[in-house]
Amino acid sequence: MRRMTRLEAAVTAGLLIAALIFFMFPVVWMFLTSFKSEAEYFHYPPVFIPKDFDFRNYFNAMAFPPDGRGGLQGLRDSLIIATATTLVAVLIGSLAAYSLSRFKTGGDNFSFWILSTRMFPPVAAALPLFLIFKQIRLLDTHLALIIANTIFNLPFVIWLMKGFFDELPGELEEAALIDGCSQVGAFVRVALPLVTPGLVATSLFSFIFAWNEFMFALLLTRRNVRTLTIIVPSLVGGHEILWGEIAAIGTIAIIPGILLSILLQRYLVRGLTLGAVKG
């Protein structure tokens, strides 16, 4: 392509910096707020840089109630739910993906049906799940949220992994079969190691989707299970708005997302478009 003139380069840089400020500002503002004292965040004109960076808000936010805001419990519950959902979805999802890719099990319509369950409006799934879980006394448990999140993560894993298996040439597994390897052995020892990068990327996506999920957590839990995404709004709705402490929880809650947007760059397009755009 044509080289940029100096003017063009300057305009490009200027626009990109403006955009960067726009997209980074809310995150940076929250990060800064997490270190501010109450006198600083309820101040006009707004204080941009807090006077001293101490971790007071973080300690209060993470400590257990009644003194703290229960952030540690939130961290634990979010971790349990996101990890378990991912394990389940990746385990049974990649098996199914392999079968759909190699044996075309059920044909195209079956694959597309699986994908279409991913598009479900969560609010439509929440009502029957709530009633069923209530009946079998599963409300307010980790398991309830693991099941609910699997509704969306399982089709996601199947579809993404199917794409990775589709790209793998079948000859290697055929060679293994001829050498006396069993069908299952060909999957475990030949296909699986070759799609490991894809498997890792898929798992991380699945993790972050479950980690960020809010509606199911809001409707299917009460007191025993409180994910980070539940603690943030519950504190926002409280009568005294503890911006510093909420910001501390919010900052902790977005760390996985920030890490993944850097780690997963190669797979971002694919993961976010359900494999529709390869990138």
Binding site: S99, T117, P122, L127, A253
Partner: protein
């Protein structure tokens, strides 16, 4: 698929018992194929199909948890009431449509602009792209909280910056409480969070445009503007359509940001269909009515999803 089973000639085909093995191998392949799919298929059956059937039954029932009256069969009454007598339903549909169309249009234009700029940077853009994508990867609830602070009428930085830029002429906007701007505030939060997504996929599309085409256009004396509309846009169209459809489906389900930033208010000017359904089901406890609304949304989403799937299948067919 059967041709895959064929064993290449010249290999160890001469082994004794080879014929027997490939015959039994075929049925073993079948059973492995089914065995592998079974756990996922059963799980999906249990957690999506079964609840949906359960919900479908509710569509035809009147079941008010607040009155303690037992559920009773009412036929199509719920659906008729939603579609013909519930003004609030249609208002929420309108809000959803405004956010969907406005959001996707703004996100696509800014996203495309940014992608074109980033594309000029070459390999230097990697870190920049990661930074731009942070909004996409963080929980919408947290994004909502960030904007709640930014929009705060007294202590928020947004009003302060506006006041600085206009030398004190403007300021003190009630971004959340003023019914004239609340919907706009929601829209901007959504734009903030999802513009990078469209930027990302347009960027991916741009990278697949062969450089020769640009060179040819330049040789033919095309202006940059002509090149953009005649060369870039047609080639990007498939990717853009996928992006629009994904965003359309997601913004149809918009809930988290509403819950955090405005709670549907003031009044119900920012109440999306998802939020209204949530209120009916989990605040007013009209279960049959909620199920009817949920099914209407399910039908709409299924229609958009069909576009998405057909389009994808068509694209694959061409390759």
């Amino acid at each position: 698929m059967r041709d895959r089973v064929a064993i290449p000639q010249g290999g160890p085909a001469g082994y004794p018992g080879e014929a027997r093995r490939s015959a039994s191998g075929r049925s073993r392949r079948r059973s492995v194929a089914i065995l592998f799919v079974l756990p996922a298929a059963l799980t999906l059956l249990a957690i999506t199909v079964f609840p949906l059937i359960y919900e479908l039954r509710l569509v035809f029932m009147s079941w008010e948890l607040t009155t303690n009256a037992p559920a009773r069969f009412v036929g199509l009454q719920n659906l008729i009431r939603v579609l013909s007598q519930d003004g609030r339903f249609w208002t929420s549909m309108r809000v959803t449509a405004i956010l969907m169309i406005g959001g996707v249009a703004i996100q696509l234009s800014i996203g495309t602009g940014l992608a074109l700029l980033l594309n000029r940077l070459g390999s230097r853009r990697t870190l920049l792209v990661s930074l731009f994508l942070i909004p996409v990867m963080i929980a919408p609830v947290v994004a909502g909280f960030q904007f709640r602070m930014i929009y705060h009428d007294q202590f928020g930085p947004l009003n302060y910056v506006i006041e600085l830029l206009t030398f004190g002429q403007w300021g003190g906007f009630a971004w959340i409480a003023d019914p004239r701007v609340a919907l706009f505030s929601i829209l901007m939060t959504d734009v903030w969070q999802w513009t990078p997504f469209l930027m990302l996929i347009v960027l991916a599309g741009l990278q697949s445009v062969p450089v020769e085409l640009y060179e040819a256009a330049e040789v033919d004396g095309a202006s940059p503007w002509q090149t953009f509309w005649r060369v870039t846009v047609p080639l990007l169209l498939p990717v853009i359509i996928i992006g629009i459809l994904i965003r359309a489906m997601d913004s149809f389900k918009l809930f988290d940001i509403i819950y955090l930033v405005t709670g549907g208010g003031p009044g119900n000017v920012t109440e999306t269909i998802s939020f209204y359904t949530y209120l009916q089901g989990f605040k007013f406890f009209s279960l049959g009515y909620t199920a009817a609304m949920a099914f209407i949304q399910l039908i709409i989403i299924t229609l958009i999803a069909q576009f998405f799937l057909r389009f994808q299948r068509q694209q694959r067919g061409e390759v």
